[in-house]
């Protein structure tokens, strides 16, 4: 408050505590207070004759470069964590979870048939695809929106992303093995599904590459 060194002591009946002591007091009050404390409030709480503003300034300088700082919050003062140490105040736990079966299937269909609409995914899976499944894949950044299909209703299509390719270690979605290769690798029952001829499968494969051509 006063810039004059002698004024507070002179005007007081009792001698004010030394400035270093005032600084200790300000430190303790700022530490224990639930709210930032204003200078006037500090002066009211400190013994008569104290100069809270000066003590605060000393304290502020003392904490420069420390793990916590004396900062101004509006008209008041508070002790806060140094901004560069904010990372210590959070603890991150990473939890690995296996993608649900519905999500894996949806993702597979998008990868093999992109660009593909939701209606097409549902037709292939034979069950409806929940909004949440698509959202989850979008959030994982494994799929994104492709061009709208030029059919009635102009439905959105989904395609896989670079992130998808990185995660699954693929150069391009075309590197995904076809049904024949899956079968050769023993990932598929050797019997062809009823009603699907080998020829039909070939055609499908071709159709698939067509789609990828569209994308490129």
């Amino acid at each position: 408050m006063s810039e004059d060194d002698d004024a507070p002591t002179e005007s007081s009946l009792f001698e004010a505590p030394p400035l270093s002591e005032q600084e200790r007091m300000v430190e303790a009050v700022l530490f224990a207070s639930a709210e930032p404390v204003g200078v006037a409030d500090l002066n009211a709480r400190l013994p008569h004759g104290c100069d809270a503003a000066r003590a605060l300034e000393m304290l502020r300088r003392r904490y420069e470069g420390r793990g916590v700082r004396v900062v101004r919050v509006g008209e008041a003062w508070a002790i806060r964590t140094a901004p560069d140490l904010g990372f210590l105040m959070q603890r991150e736990t990473v939890e690995m979870r296996k993608l649900s079966r519905a999500a894996v299937e949806t993702l597979a269909i998008i990868a093999y048939h992109q660009p593909v609409t939701r209606a097409e995914i549902e037709e292939i899976r034979g069950v409806s695809v929940s909004r949440g499944t698509i959202d989850q894949l979008l959030e994982l950044e494994w799929i994104r929106f492709g061009r709208r299909r030029m059919t009635p209703g102009r439905p959105v299509t989904y395609v896989v992303t670079q992130g998808f390719l990185d995660h699954f270690g693929l150069e391009s979605a075309r590197d995904l093995p076809g049904l024949k290769e899956l079968r050769a690798a023993g990932l598929l029952d050797s019997r062809p599904p009823p009603g699907v001829s080998e020829d039909g499968e070939e055609a499908e494969d071709e159709g698939q590459s067509d789609m990828f051509e569209d994308e490129s």
């Binding site: 530490f31 508070a78 959070q90 736990t93 993608l99 299937e105 597979a108 990868a111 029952d189």
Partner: protein, 259 residues
Amino acid sequence: MDDAGEIVDSIEARRAAEALIVDVDGFEGPLDLLLSLSRTQKVDLRKISVLQLAEQYLGFVERAKALRIELAADYLVMAAWLAFLKSRLLLPPDPEDEGPTGEDLAAHLAFQLERLQAMRDVAARLMGRDRLGRDVFARGTPTDVTRIRRVTYTATLLDLMQAYARIRTRDDFRPYVMDRDSIYTMEEALDRMRGLIGYAGEWMTLSNWLPEGWETDPARRRSATAANFAASLELVKQGAAEIRQSATFAPIEIRKVAR
């Protein structure tokens, strides 16, 4: 000497004694009362005259009775014990008696009083310390540690291809074949246990019966435990085995029926 009432002669002492009687509810038990009485001796608790104290206590109880003050049972138990102690201290020791001497008993009472007094003293010192929230303060604005829980979903290329293959050849897949992986049926358990029960002469806990590969994974262990338990009951019903459990949630034990 045993007329303790006559000891109280000065007005001050009588007033103090009356205060004791009026405050009888304020005492925290006979030891507390004895400790208060011992203060009138104004000596170190280690040098206290237990005989004198016993007389003071008995006198107190007598006066309380005369004033028809209801004394709690433990005060009367203590009175009886002190009367016994007094006789021990006054009578010459009986060489036939193997029990503790009057001096031993008196020393222990003195120890108890000293210990209680010591606990009161340190309790007062403890309460007089600088205390958190009264003299010393913690941080007024603690910063919460934010816990960021990040869930990462994973799938492998194999998952992806198998999923696709599954869709494209759906009709070839039996729908529950994967799920039955972790199901152990009662029939399986029964078959297995029938073969093994003959060797179970001693009580064995049910968990020891789990087949290999079914002990660790929780889902498989649950299934195998349930199947084994059902199979055990079946064996008991057939008279091939005995089953017991010593208490609720205690391990269930099985052994073969001794023939």
